[in-house]
Each structure stands twice: as structure tokens, then as C-alpha cells.
């Protein structure tokens, strides 16, 4: 039987072992393997491509510096996601305190005529609407919402990543939805109608 690419490639734990043995090349392989995943999560939490890129790079550098602390009995991705969320939440907290005043005056402009005609969903626009209404969420709420709704992680896994109880995650999700719907009602009534028409 000819071995496939998957069967030749070491899994995450094996790669970490190799890196700990002093092979820097293995770390490059690990970075390459996780880049898209880490960047996607950062981008969805932060909502800005350049910042997300910087934060992702910082995550990998922290990963390199703390690799000795990784306990192989836990899933590598859980540990990696914990690092991503910690760095991203810190960044969001700092950014939020700087930009709060500016963001509160921004909104996407839609005429009432557009609202009357109903919503023709455009993906890029949905992304902008999300970034706008998500400004009312705390960094932790937004992180949990993104992980659950966009990364499709179950609340139990999110609780493991954040080191909290599952009920806390569910509370954050509930509050995040409520806050975002109120914000939609206020700033994007044409979208809020979708919920009220149900």
C-alpha cells in the first residue's frame, strides 16, 4: 500500500515533540498547518485583515515561546485556540477603549425605501453589519459568539478553551444574541425585521 500524504505527515503532538527536541523546521511545518485556522479566527473576532494578521503572527511567536508548557494529554487545537482567544481578547480590550467614541458615530446608511423592499442579503454587507452590531459586545462575548456561530465549536469545547463553565458560555451566547438584536433594531431595522417577522 502506498502511504498517503496524511499517513506520512506527523500529527500535531508528534510535531510538538520534534520541535521540543530542537528541530526548528518542524515549527515551520506547524505554523504552515495552522495559519489559515488561526488567521480565520482572529479575523472574525477582530474584523480587520491587517490587525488579524499581526495578532495571528503574535500568537505563533507566543506559541514558540511557550511550547514547553503544552501538555500533550490535551488536544493541541484547544491549547492553540486558548492562546488565540487570550491574545485577541487583550487586543480587543485595548482597541475598544481607544475607539469607543469613534465607533458609536458610525453606521451603514440604508434608506427606508430599501427597508420597505425587504432584504436582499449580500454577504459582504452582512459582514459589515456584523462588525457594526458586534461593537456592543464585550470582547469575550464576541469571541464566544464567533467560536460558536462561525467556527461551529460546541459550547463544551469553548468552555474548555476559555477555562470556564459551559453554563457561562451559554449565558454569554444568550446575552450576545439579545444585545445584537437590540442593536440591529436600532441601527439596521431592515435586518431586524427578519427576526420580528418570524
Amino acid at each position: 500500500m502506498i502511504p498517503t500524504k496524511e499517513s506520512i505527515e506527523p500529527d500535531d503532538r508528534q510535531l510538538v515533540r520534534t520541535i521540543r527536541d530542537g528541530q526548528t523546521d518542524a515549527f515551520e511545518q506547524l505554523v504552515r498547518r495552522k495559519t489559515s485556522k488561526v488567521y480565520a479566527l482572529c479575523y472574525r473576532i477582530i474584523g480587520n485583515a491587517e490587525d488579524a494578521k499581526d495578532i495571528s503572527q503574535l500568537v505563533f511567536i507566543k506559541l514558540w515561546e511557550n511550547l514547553e508548557k503544552y501538555d500533550p494529554q490535551y488536544a493541541f487545537d484547544t491549547w492553540l485556540y486558548r492562546m488565540v482567544t487570550n491574545v485577541a481578547i487583550d487586543f480587543m480590550r485595548n482597541k475598544q477603549s481607544r475607539e469607543n467614541a469613534v465607533n458609536s458615530n458610525l453606521r451603514l446608511v440604508k434608506t427606508s425605501a430599501d427597508a420597505e423592499q425587504g432584504v436582499n442579503v449580500q454577504r459582504k454587507e452582512v459582514e459589515s453589519v456584523f462588525n457594526e452590531v458586534a461593537t456592543v459586545l464585550s470582547p469575550k462575548q464576541k469571541t464566544i459568539f464567533v467560536m460558536n456561530q462561525m467556527e461551529d465549536l460546541p459550547s463544551a469545547e469553548i468552555a474548555r478553551i476559555l477555562g470556564c463553565r459551559e453554563s457561562t458560555v451559554r449565558n454569554h451566547l444568550f446575552n450576545a444574541r439579545k444585545l445584537m438584536q437590540a442593536q440591529l433594531q436600532k441601527r439596521f431595522p431592515e435586518y431586524a425585521r427578519l427576526w420580528s417577522d418570524r
Partner: protein, 175 residues
């Protein structure tokens, strides 16, 4: 990816079905339709898949590795200039310090030690060199006698007045 027809037939509000989510994240027409059934799908449609950072994965990885090599080099240099970590190195440093302290203490002690009695013919080279001279009696700068007994009282520090006692029958009574 499933067809639009299958998607619309199988779509349920609040679904976690991976195939359904994959479709709604890729098909604008079905997203528009699904948002009318379950508005929560709006933001769910933004997820899924993996994203490529600006500049591409290769540039991203090489940036990270450059920084990692830089930091590794820095930490290696810092390790070379750090305090000794092995117990033998620490012991050697401690022994050197102990020897230095003991040597300094011995030198200090020797400097402080002055003879209580100077035997034989004595010469007083310095008498009452204190800057605060309270007496009006004549000052004896030097004294030389074969029969005299001269006693220097040891001082506590450099600033103390040097006390010298001279016992000699030939000395004038009022001195």
C-alpha cells in the same frame, strides 16, 4: 456540496448540520432564502472554512520564522551573559567572594591593631593631632628619652584623637 434543492428541503432553523452550513456559506441565493426562515443563519453564514492572511501563507510563515529565529538568537546571547546556573559555577563564585571578604577583613584588622606598649627607647612621632584642641598646655611634638615609658591608647577610628601617655621623671611637673 449539496444542491440548492436539497438544501432548501433539508434546512431547519438552528441547524448544526455541517453540509447545510457549508452550502449556506457558499450560496448567496440560498442564504437570502434561509434568512427568511431563520435569521440567525445570517451571521452563521460568515463562518466556516479557512482564510488566507493578506500577502499569502508563505509570506506569513516566513515573517513568523524570521521573528522566531531572531528571538532564539537573542535568548541564546542572554543565556551566555547570565549568572552561572550550575552548582559548581555558583560554588566557585561563592568561594571567590568569601576569600575576598576574608582577605579584606584580615587587612582591616591588621591596620587597626596598634601595640599597647612600645618597649625600649620610644619616639613619639605625632602627639595629639586632633583638630579640636581643648587644652592650652604646650604641645609636645616629639619626645625622646631612654628612661621614659610611652603608652599609646588604641583608637576606635581614624577620626579619634590619638592619646599618648608618657611616664618620665624628667618631665616638668606642669606638662
Amino acid at each position: 456540496m449539496m444542491s440548492c434543492q436539497n438544501f432548501r428541503a433539508g434546512f431547519q432553523p438552528g441547524t448544526d448540520d455541517a453540509a447545510i452550513l457549508e452550502h449556506v456559506r457558499a450560496c448567496d441565493a440560498c442564504l437570502d432564502w434561509a434568512a427568511g426562515v431563520d435569521p440567525d443563519v445570517l451571521f452563521r453564514s460568515l463562518g466556516g472554512g479557512e482564510l488566507i492572511p493578506p500577502g499569502g501563507v508563505d509570506a506569513f510563515v516566513s515573517d513568523v520564522m524570521r521573528e522566531v529565529h531572531l528571538r532564539s538568537t537573542e535568548s541564546t546571547l542572554v543565556r551566555h551573559h547570565r549568572w552561572p546556573t550550575s552548582w559548581t559555577q555558583r560554588l566557585a563564585v561563592a568561594a571567590t567572594l568569601a576569600a575576598a571578604i576574608t582577605g579584606a577583613a584580615l587587612v582591616y584588622q591588621r591596620d587597626r591593631q596598634t601595640p599597647a606598649v612600645t618597649p625600649g627607647p620610644a619616639v613619639v612621632r605625632r602627639a595629639a593631632a586632633s583638630p579640636l584642641r581643648l587644652t592650652t598646655k604646650p604641645v609636645v611634638e616629639s619626645y625622646d628619652s631612654e628612661k621614659a615609658t610611652i603608652v599609646e591608647v588604641p583608637t576606635e577610628g581614624n577620626g579619634d584623637t590619638q592619646i599618648v601617655m608618657i611616664f618620665d621623671e624628667k618631665l616638668p611637673a606642669d606638662l
